[in-house]
């Protein structure tokens, strides 16, 4: 009985869609544009994350220690560093580890390797590498490190030149988020208006049916449900269409991004594949919710009991 009614509601919704085909087409198109922009924002967010990551990789907050520093002095300093606000991890790099990584980094540089062999012993110092929680924390961490009490074990610090870069990265990230919010808001508003209008037109086209349904005692939900189902149908078609359009788009975008960001770690298609369900699922649910709200307003306004 209920299944039968649901089937009839869906049938009516599909008929609505077909009867106002051009209005439906325009509505879905606007929805696709909105979803496209939302996905574009996902891309922007992803790129800024990758950019931040690549900066983070380059940030090296290292405290170089005296070669003959005592174990307990080093661990005391390590504990002190770990208690600084914003610091997540402090790792100790021994002389041997430092040499190893230096050698592997400069494997192709023959003259450096040569020079190293001539010195005969390990010329590198042990160090403590500090990692901050987030990009935004680095600045405060650096300031705290600057103020660290003079430890005899510290030979030198290396971190000054990153401050400007960090500051501008932080500003850019915050700006991007603000713009994203604004653009999303505008698109959501436009979508609400367009869906509202489409449902209004559908109601107008069906005013006779609605009148008859009311007259013969159709329940109120049965009269209203097709317009809500139509709203969900719009969302569904919109998401399917945006998937079909967006993948070719990011395939085209991908090669440019790699060279622009100068890192190999940009994999947009992979990112979208990996988050397919969450990205498009949330978009479908969000679009459905927005469309149902718009549709309900139209139905509440134009379908009187």
């Amino acid at each position: 009985m209920i299944l039968l009614s649901i089937a009839r509601v869906l049938k009516f919704a599909l008929q609505d869609f077909g009867r106002n085909f051009w209005v439906s087409l325009v509505t879905v198109t606007i929805l696709v544009l909105s979803l496209f922009s939302v996905n574009f924002l996902v891309v922007v967010d992803y790129i800024s994350q990758q950019a931040i990551k690549s900066v983070e990789e380059k940030i090296d907050l290292s405290l170089y220690l005296n070669a003959d520093a005592a174990e307990e002095d080093i661990s005391a300093l390590k504990r002190e560093l770990e208690s600084v606000a914003g610091v997540v991890e402090v790792s100790y790099v021994s002389k041997a580890q430092a040499l190893e990584s230096f050698q592997s980094k400069n494997r192709d540089n023959q003259s450096l390797q040569e020079a190293l062999r001539e010195v005969g012993k390990n010329p590198l110092n042990p160090s403590l590498v500090v990692q901050a929680k987030e990009l935004a924390d680095y600045e405060t961490v650096i300031n705290s490190l600057d103020k660290l009490s003079k430890h005899t074990v510290i030979e030198s610090k290396n971190f000054d030149d990153h401050r400007n870069l960090l500051q501008s990265m932080n500003t850019i990230t915050a700006r991007t988020r603000q713009i994203m919010l604004l653009v999303s808001f505008i698109f959501i508003a436009v979508t609400v208006l367009v869906v509202f209008n489409a449902v209004r037109i559908a109601i107008y086209t069906h005013r006779k049916e609605i009148g008859v349904m009311k007259l013969v005692g159709a329940s109120n939900w049965f009269i209203r449900a097709p317009f809500l189902a139509e709203a969900i149908l719009y969302s569904f078609l919109g998401v399917i269409a945006v998937i079909a359009i967006f993948y070719p788009f990011i395939h085209l975008l991908q090669p440019y991004l790699g060279s622009f960001l100068n890192t190999a770690s940009v994999d947009l298609v992979g990112y979208f594949n990996g988050h397919f369900i969450i990205i498009f699922g949330v978009e479908f649910l969000g679009a459905s919710l927005i469309n149902i709200i718009a549709s309900s307003i139209a139905v509440g306004k134009y379908v009187k009991v």
Partner: protein, 226 residues
């Protein structure tokens, strides 16, 4: 069956469409309601099907007080009260069968029941040979009969006919009135709102005359007195 108790219906800015209107209708009655245009007849019909709310007074259908009927109860009220208006309100893109079936579909009936009941009611109104025609392929009288068939699918206890013959010539009008009498004989209470003097006089049934929203005459075997 139906009771109006001192019902007033006020339309802003300054119309009392019904003014302290009282009327009692017994089960199985065939009642004609007459009166000039704008005297509140359609308002009475709209109050009965919950399309409008009374400003004052009380309305009962059976022992159901519908004065302040809630929106979600209205569908159940309308399944008990069939309504026919002057404009036929058939859907032009559907055949007569589909028009009648539509009324059952939207109320959640199963196809096997629909396929059983729809031909029955169409036969009752004499349209068994034309069930696959579209509304514009039959006469006005036949369209009105299809509307009556549609109003009968829920086996209503009450049939309200608001000027059902207003758009018909006298022969077709007489056919519709005969049909209403036939439906009344099966036990349905019929309320006929009309202007038509000949019809009222030939019926020889109870006639209530309304003027300015009040009952000014109520005769057992009535005549059109205006």
């Amino acid at each position: 069956m139906i009771t109006f108790e001192n019902v007033t219906k006020f339309y802003p800015p300054n119309t009392n469409a019904l003014d302290n209107f009282s009327l009692e209708i017994k089960p199985g009655e065939f009642l004609s309601v007459v009166g000039q245009s704008g005297t509140g007849k359609t308002t009475m019909v709209k109050l009965l099907i919950g399309e409008e709310k009374a400003t004052k007074g009380k309305i009962l259908v059976g022992d159901w007080d519908i004065t302040n009927v809630r929106p979600r109860e209205i569908p159940y009220l309308r399944r008990q009260i069939g309504v026919i208006f002057q404009d036929f309100k058939l859907l032009p893109a559907k055949t007569l069968f589909e028009n009648v079936a539509f009324a059952m579909q939207v109320c959640g009936h199963i196809p096997s029941k629909i396929n059983l009941v729809v031909p029955q009611v169409l036969k009752l109104v004499g349209l068994e040979k034309k069930i696959w025609r579209y509304p514009n392929e039959v006469s006005g009288g036949e369209q009105q009969r299809a509307v009556i068939a549609r109003a009968l699918v829920h086996h209503p206890k009450i049939l309200l006919a608001d000027e059902p013959t207003g758009n018909l010539d006298s022969i077709n009008a007489a056919d519709i009135i005969n049909l209403l009498e036939k439906i009344n004989k099966f036990g349905t209470t019929v309320i006929l709102v009309t202007h038509n003097k000949e019809i009222v006089n030939s019926l020889r049934r109870r006639v209530v005359t309304i003027d300015a929203g009040r009952v000014i005459s109520d005769q057992k075997i009535g005549k059109y007195i205006l």
